[in-house]
Amino acid sequence: MATLLDFRRRIRSVKNTQQITRAMKFVAAARLRRAQEAAIAARPYARELARMLRSIMSRIDEPQHPLLAHRPEQRILAIVLAGERGLAGAFNANILRKAQDFFRANKGKKLSTIPIGKKGRDALKKAGFHLIAEYVNVLARVDFLTAREIALLVTELYAQEEIDSVYMVFSEFKTVMTPNLVVTRLLPVEAVPADEESGSATSEVDYIYEQPEQQLLGKLLPRYIETQLLRAMLESSAAEHAARMTAMESATKNAGDVIEALTLHMNKVRQAAITKEIIEIVSGASYGA
């Protein structure tokens, strides 16, 4: 039978675990806030760029650019954004399942992938997918230069017709509780979606173009891909921290429940021991009388 000492030890060990999970929760919360701020700060550039691109695309009758060219999808590249680290609940498992679903749906075509984040890299490598490149340890602190590097790589591959389309699989950050897994097409670029905020009023303006429109388009499109990638990385990073925060919060709560149950049990054992002792004393005393 477990003695009092055993219970004390177990309670202490659970308490230590709880302290760790609680600390991890606070760290994740701080990182989440930072990631969210970065995501918000990056929004104006992406919005203005999309607006400018839309305005130019609407001006050119038949926009011609390698990044706009549609080809039958035979060779598909998927950029999978998973987490850098574990202990984030089902975050990594979910995103990888989504990626697997995507690969299964495109069976028979030539698939390749670029994982971003260590967990995604490990899993996809193990599953035997063809990795064109891999980017690890870049999501902890999302840098625009990383987004640019990846964008340059995929746009070159696409322009050289090595691949026919590029998709991104990532977790969109909606709220802390509900991650939203999305698969979006990065290339070829389709009509740039209009957002509610900027409206359509400005796109009607008859601009003077300092450079030929085609040249401007050629410069704007790669930038647009970069902002799309940057957004995905920022969102994914925020979602990872949010998932870890939630996971650690429930772990802390569970540890609390375990401690409570163990304490209750320990007290019962202690009570039983005391009762037994009293009975022994009392019965011993009545014998003596």
Binding site: A41, A42, Y45, E48, E210, L216, R223
Partner: protein, 145 residues
């Protein structure tokens, strides 16, 4: 009627750097510097590497920024600058810029066939413009005090 000020918005991929009412802006277009006053005709241009200067509404002093490539959209009462990087003169680390200049010069002078000429050239120009902007602001501060 012409507007009496322009709303100058400068954004970089990482953040919005500036949103202010200004009366005059000079910006480094790809094909040369442009001066923009309120009521300018709508225009879209590519930016080169250079110095962006603007006058505050009601202020005498002009502010300087070093900008590196990007785009600008001019409307009658609004000027949006999408720069790859933009730094206020007072934020520029002069020593770092000088180091970068020395590095770029060394790279351009070397005979190594592996160097990326365009990149080294851009680095050189960027360093030069940063030094120019930073020293200008500093001397202006000294003269004004």
């Amino acid at each position: 009627m012409l507007p009496d000020a322009i709303e100058l918005v400068i954004v970089t991929p990482e953040k919005q750097l500036l949103r202010e009412k200004v009366v005059e802006v000079q910006l480094p277009g790809e094909n040369g510097y442009l001066g923009v006053l309120p009521g300018h005709a709508p225009l879209i241009t590519e930016l080169g590497i250079g110095e962006l200067r603007y006058h505050h509404l009601g202020g005498k002093e002009s502010a300087h920024l070093a900008v590196v490539q990007g785009f600008a959209e001019v409307l009658a009462d609004r000027l949006t600058v999408l720069a790859e990087t933009a730094e206020r003169a007072e934020e520029i680390d002069l020593q770092r810029a000088k180091d970068a200049l020395a590095r770029a010069e060394k790279r351009l002078a070397s005979n190594d066939p592996n160097i990326d000429w365009d990149r080294a050239n851009v680095a050189l120009q960027r360093a030069l413009i940063r030094i120019q902007v930073a020293t200008k602001q500093r001397s202006a501060l000294v003269a004004g005090s």
